[in-house]
């Protein structure tokens, strides 16, 4: 589902954040991406989202070489990839419902259908009774779950999460990890950047480790 072929990323300031990274994540797989801060985890995810372009090498998602995407195809690629951000990127000028509905409105889903799917998504993350609230009134864990609801509401085949439990206490973290496992069980390919070792160990999935932009480990956690 996600393939990196010899991918390097050098930022305009000359810093090389990724060096010749090659990896493959199969359809329906769940994979953790670990590494110290600054190792290049976020950069790798940005390449999958086309928030950045690689300086070298190729990224293939769902069989499509992102190198060959024309600019007007980028939005359609992004609709295939749900993203959960560490800082959740919610909009505080609208309700929880409207935040989660945004990807559906963009994708051109029928307004009647939007209500049904937003509620299904909010129900999944346990926030159905908060749909009218403004996300600013919610706790950190709740905000993160709104972000997850928005990432999955359009049923993307790929779900990326960049340190989704970074600011949360252990109980909330394991709740959120459970959610990701559930999405994975229904066939979604899930890639989670995290350095919460106890959590990764509890899930027991495949782990990719980055060190200073290089892939140094691929497999089960030792």
């Amino acid at each position: 589902m996600i393939e990196f072929h010899n991918v390097s990323k050098r930022y305009p300031n000359g810093y090389e954040a990724l060096t010749r990274v090659s990896l493959q994540v199969g359809e329906g797989e769940m994979v953790f991406l670990t590494g110290h801060s600054g190792a290049g985890k976020s950069t790798l995810m940005k390449l999958i989202m086309l928030m950045e372009r690689p300086s070298q090498g190729q990224v293939v998602v769902g069989g499509r070489n992102l190198d060959r995407l024309r600019p007007n195809q980028i939005p359609f690629h992004r609709r295939q990839v749900g993203v959960v951000f560490q800082n959740h990127q919610l909009l505080f000028d609208r309700s929880v419902f409207d935040n989660v509905a945004l990807p559906l409105q963009i994708a051109g889903v029928h307004p009647r259908e939007i209500g049904r799917r937003v509620r299904a998504s909010l129900d999944k993350v346990g926030l159905l009774d908060h749909e009218r609230a403004n996300p600013i009134t919610l706790s950190g864990g709740e905000q993160q779950r709104v972000g997850i609801a928005r990432a999955v509401v359009n049923k993307p085949p790929v779900l990326l999460a960049d340190e989704p439990t970074g600011n949360l206490d252990p109980d909330l973290s394991s709740d959120i990890m459970k959610l990701f496992c559930e999405f994975n069980q229904v066939g979604v390919t899930v890639l989670i950047a995290s350095h919460d070792w106890s959590l990764i160990r509890s899930v027991g999935a495949r782990v990719l480790t980055l060190e200073q932009g290089q892939l140094t480990h691929d497999g089960a956690l030792q």
Partner: protein
Amino acid sequence: MSREPGARGAHLSRTGIADVWQAWQQHHRNSALDSFGRLAETPLQTLMTALVVAIALALPTTLLLALGNVQSLGERWESGPKMTVFLKLGAQDAAIAGLRDKLRQMPDVQEHEYISPAQALQSFQAQSGFSEALAALDTNPLPPTLVITPAPTAVDPVNLETLRQRIAADPLVDEVSLDMDWVRRLNAIMNLGKQLVLALALLLGAGVLLVIGNTIRLEIESRREEIVVVKLVGGTDGFVRRPFLYTGFWYGVFGGLLACLLVSTGVASLGGSVRNLAATYQDTFVLQGLGLAGCAALVGSCIGLGLLGAWLAVGRHLSAIEPR
């Protein structure tokens, strides 16, 4: 929205064309209402911007109207060109009568008036104030004159010239002059004026573009976060652009209507005094206003400027917000 590229993957959600169409319409409605709502939230600021737009448009519109009115006034005063035929000094009365008979038979001549040397001298004395100097002359230096009004069918320059040559060919005729110079001069001045007003309108139109563009730029800045999120979850440029285009559209509507109001108020307040002034000249001239079609054209071009300004601003600033 363009087609969805056929991505592979087991969990692709399907969305039909009809749904996309309905959602698109819905987004247009929502964008239009949302943009309107945002403008209504800051009524004073909106009014100020719309007023700047309105004044910038009302100015050239008023000048154009004024030119049009002066031109139609000129046409009223000079219904058509006249031809003045100077006969040879000492032409015999009988010969003159013969020429006048010939003129009566020309279809291109609607009517003519004979001014004898004595009549000419009299009116010249009355008008010029040289009466004593002229009275001192022992012979009348003025020639007999015919003033010809060409038939309406002969008023175009080519026919007029043919007519002039035919009359000039008569042995009795010394010189023929066409009295359309001042009409032509007025028209030339009017055309120059129109070009100046057009240049002014272009300048002010560019000003309107800048004003609306800048207002929208501020709006884009204040909604930066929202734009980034919309792009991250797959919003097309069209989707991002839409609410801002509607903002430009509304500025165009408000500005255009205000401009109509300004111009119409001006015309209405001047109309009374113009009618009074015309009455003192036994004229029934009425100041020509914008009319419904003029108002529609003004609002329409204002909306066009609003949309264009918004488009330019969004195009310039959206790429800067690209999340990459």
